[in-house]
Symmetry: D2
């Protein structure tokens, strides 16, 4: 019987707390929508620190991982007194891609502020798009049962 990875593999998730900065709030007194891209990157980098796949790890293995696709759905606004929780979850895929799903919560009541997803590809330091999983990423997946 095949081991389904959905059964045996753990769900990899990071939760990062971010305090809203005064300079991130716009004239409508809510966080300007473009700033959420930074919060997603905060979540992704902390995911990387927790699971050993951060930007500098990739870089030292000879790769960068540019975002090629990004989708954001805004559910409600937050403002200067608020703290948010960025929940970043790895989405397993066989493709040579790194896909994350995000939910941002208002820490006060854990209501959903935003859902999002990003897709990254691997590019070697001399600029070559990788069609197959780089070795370091293949090992990373296997380590987590994916």
């Amino acid at each position: 019987m095949a081991n389904s990875s959905s059964i045996s593999s753990p769900k990899l998730t990071n939760r990062t707390e971010v305090k809203i900065r005064f300079s991130e709030v716009d004239s409508l007194k809510i966080v300007w929508h473009g700033n959420y891209v930074k919060y997603l990157e905060d979540g992704r980098e902390n995911f990387g620190s927790q699971y050993n796949i951060e930007y500098l790890t990739m870089f030292s293995n000879g790769y960068t991982a540019p975002v090629i696709d990004m989708k954001l759905q805004f559910k409600q606004s937050v403002s200067v007194a608020d703290t948010i929780i960025v929940e970043t979850t790895y989405r397993p895929t066989r493709a040579a891609k790194l896909i994350f799903d995000y939910t941002i919560y208002n820490k006060a009541d854990m209501s959903v502020v935003l859902t999002a997803e990003t897709t990254q590809v691997f590019v070697s330091l001399d600029g070559e798009l990788q069609l197959y999983n780089p070795e370091f990423f293949q090992k990373w997946k296997e380590r987590w049962g994916y």
Copy 2:
């Protein structure tokens, strides 16, 4: 027989030129992906100036139009010496929404840098989501044959 609006109505498009700032380029020497949200807003605001539906017009009519959905596909990078063209096109819809499609080009060779779409809804100044098109927007649509 009704004329389909796709036949009789003009395509509403704005083209805005943006010179890349040094501060918008990241350590990989390309524009940081989050900065494209600003370029989309530049395009949208200039579209608004050209077709009389800018942020301040909406505001003086008693509405704001927050972005509730945003999708970006990155095709290639640009850097500090580059100038981009943000092409912003109105996408007709019956819903009480404002939807724009974007293509960003590298001005040097007009190759595609990014495609994107944003969806905005109308919220009254006291915070009420509008389920029907506000009168000013309905008139705006009719003026352009939509």
Copy 3:
């Protein structure tokens, strides 16, 4: 003999830790100089939280405190792997001003990254510059022996 406030009053200082974001680093692989203004605001806001004089406290008392003067001296650079410590110190003055001195350290070796100062004035919510200390600020100073 007058009690000199420099003898009897405590030095009010806050230390805030900030992790450098990838998006804050420029193409020379160092933090872009303009981003330090955000770090100073982080320090100032945390000073405000610690000593009960934050932005929202002022606002609820009927005032804002815009920065009217800002001086920054850059001593060395930091980059994406770094964490900085923003040390924010209140500088006593009789004038109706709020003056802070800052030293930013690289957390790794506590070497100095930047020194800075900012001056803020008090403006009522209807836009009037205050030539005398607002009552809430006078009380705040007295509470700390200034």
Copy 4:
């Protein structure tokens, strides 16, 4: 007898127009003070384009020119409907430094919004601070009679 350079040399000034972006305005409905650092850089880069001493020129000569000192005095605020003029003027000095004075005007009435100055030093691409004027900069100065 030597002609004083203050008599024979032209004043080198660039004027750059910048339209305020919605995302640059804070919850007090004025441009957030940290954003002026970007406008100064806009002015400096356009000065560089006009007088052939821009960032990429320096870089191709083997140098970068980090800002080591920055002073800003805020005179009045601007907001989302405004356009500003950044006036950037070269300040002659014998030192191996690049010093600029800035005045930012509100285009509507040419009232002064901000005055500022920045000081840059020259650093070779291998990180060495230059104590003497690099040759390309010495030639640049002579070309303009400084």
